[in-house]
Symmetry: C2
Subunit: 339 residues, 2 copies
């Protein structure tokens, strides 16, 4: 399976490392070699039909050299001309117009390539067009890494729990907000102080709006609503309230009732909403720290909750790897080589 | 896919109801009919090669009539003679000698049938012999329902996270103990009082030893250790301490440090143990109520936790259904009918 990696920042490098680490295991299990044949960062690219050395690429990037030659053609042109099987799209999320990810994905899907991505923008803004394009071209679009980092939420509900009817979902979908709310509750600290702390620790951006105003959570919630509950929404359809106005006093009042405040995304029969909510201590959604949590209610299993690291180099690579394994299984099945 | 249901108590009836509910979905998805062709309770049985009516069987059983004729032959003889594809083994757990489940499963595996089970005894006592027998006969032994009720722990780690190396596991594997410890902590009640309450609510047996002495947790932990981490242990190898000696004072002391006491099963490099532990409030293992929780640590995904209902008619049926879906997928793959 020949991969084209587009975007070679933290996530891209994590994927290269994961491929190096798991290549032998996958060859043993699926009788097939997983190779990186193309890599693009924002300015440079490398291509070798015989496969590039994943760890050498990471070294080059760390040394500040880019990954190869300066790219002179448009990315879309290259993605339609090159020979590869799977586009792994990891350019930064753009929640305004979804570019360059959207064009990259469309180009690959139209060229009959499978797409695996960690890029939320295109899925949160243009889910149905992308999903339709994949179906039309008989290929797969997989996006486990867009929601909940390492947490295998999407594949769990679509594959293992495929016979269950998911009736509603509630989740903590942003680790930064959960860190801030947890620290406020546990240490009695004011919002501004903990936000500054999160920025210093690298959990929050200099412009924290994307996290604390719930835009990131709303994007992930829209993806889940579309992928798992069959809705057709964008992140703009999500009724959204962030955590800027959560005071220390509100957190203290909740604590007196043995509750915590958490930023919860919810999809149910009546709509799609992100807002701060009170959650009883001990409830699966009361978890502290930078975790992401998804709580599903289904017709048979009842309540199922999955908790995992919402971000991180290895964690996001793990989710991308699980999607690549999904493609390897599909292909093994098609040629009758299932172990 | 023709099922033989052995054991027709709460779980068996739940499975019959789940088959009735999901039959159309499965036919649509896999182009195949899932039928119950044989049903056995402790004394009676019914067989129809054309398929029995699942809801009629439940009605008969509810009316106290058994499910058909009185069985005169040995179960093992019937299971080796009858025509079916999958044994669904749901006789009560026997942690002394694993019977009659062990013989039922061996008989079916030897006859080339797949086995799906909710019966912990055979897996907690004779995991390797059963696993070897299944491999030798080229069939599958699936047991998602033996651990964590509806929680899709085993299939999650074996299928979706197959490329991850699971380095350690910690879990809350008994809902009764978790209910008791949660109530003690939240209401400041003594152990004996809450145990009595749990017995009155039907969460604990008249002889509560199996739950509160950690035997049930140890059985499930042994199954996980074998299935997910490749060990070869029985529940007797688990270093085990129950919750009988947890006092209200101990729970109060933990609360002063913002911790709760939970009965935790753990598998790691140094052994297999079930014992009461202190867990910080807000940690994924601090969850309250009758939930089961499994926390895995893997090389790439890091920390992943799954929480679900540990028991119940529909919940256990859900786990058995997910195993049946696994078999349907395998068969669809073998004949090239994957959608």
């Amino acid at each position: 399976m020949r991969l084209a990696l587009v975007g070679f920042g933290t996530v891209g490098q994590g994927v290269a490392e994961a491929v190096a680490l798991k290549r032998e295991f996958l060859r043993d299990r699926f009788d097939r070699d997983v190779q990186i044949v193309a890599v693009f960062d924002s300015k440079t690219f490398a291509y070798d039909a015989k496969g590039l050395d994943p760890l050498e690429l990471v070294q080059m990037k760390k040394a500040g050299k880019g990954v190869g030659k300066v790219r002179k053609k448009e990315m879309a042109q290259m993605l339609s001309e090159l020979d590869y099987d799977v586009l792994v799209e990891m350019t930064p999320t753009n929640i305004e117009d979804a570019e360059p990810g959207y064009t990259n994905m469309c180009t690959a899907l139209k060229a009959g390539k499978d797409v695996v991505t960690s890029n939320k923008g295109p899925l949160a803004l243009k889910f149905r067009p992308l999903d339709n394009l994949a179906r039309k071209n008989g290929v797969e679009l997989r996006f486990e890494a867009t929601v909940g980092g390492a947490t295998p939420i999407i594949n769990l509900s679509r594959e293992l729990l495929m016979a269950e009817k998911v009736e509603s979902m509630k989740g903590i979908l942003n680790g930064t907000c959960n860190f801030i709310l947890s620290r406020m509750g546990e240490e009695g600290l004011p919002f501004e102080y903990v936000l500054k702390e999160a920025q210093e620790m690298g959990y929050a951006e200099t412009d924290p709006s994307y996290d604390i105003d719930g835009i990131d959570s709303a994007s992930k919630l829209a993806i889940l609503a579309n992928a798992i509950m069959g809705l057709d929404v964008t992140y703009k359809d999500v009724n959204r309230t962030g955590i800027r106005r959560i005071t220390r006093e509100a957190v203290d009042l909740a604590a007196k009732e043995k509750k915590v405040i958490r930023l919860i995304g919810e999809v149910n029969g009546s709509g799609v909403e992100v807002s701060p909510r009170m959650v009883p201590v001990g409830h699966p959604l009361s978890i502290s720290g930078t975790f992401n949590v998804l709580h599903m209610h289904t017709d048979l299993a009842g309540s199922i909750t999955v908790v995992g690291r919402g971000a991180g180099r290895k964690e996001t690579a793990s989710a991308i790897l699980s999607d690549l394994v999904g493609l390897l299984k599909r292909d093994a099945c098609a040629v009758g080589k299932v172990k």
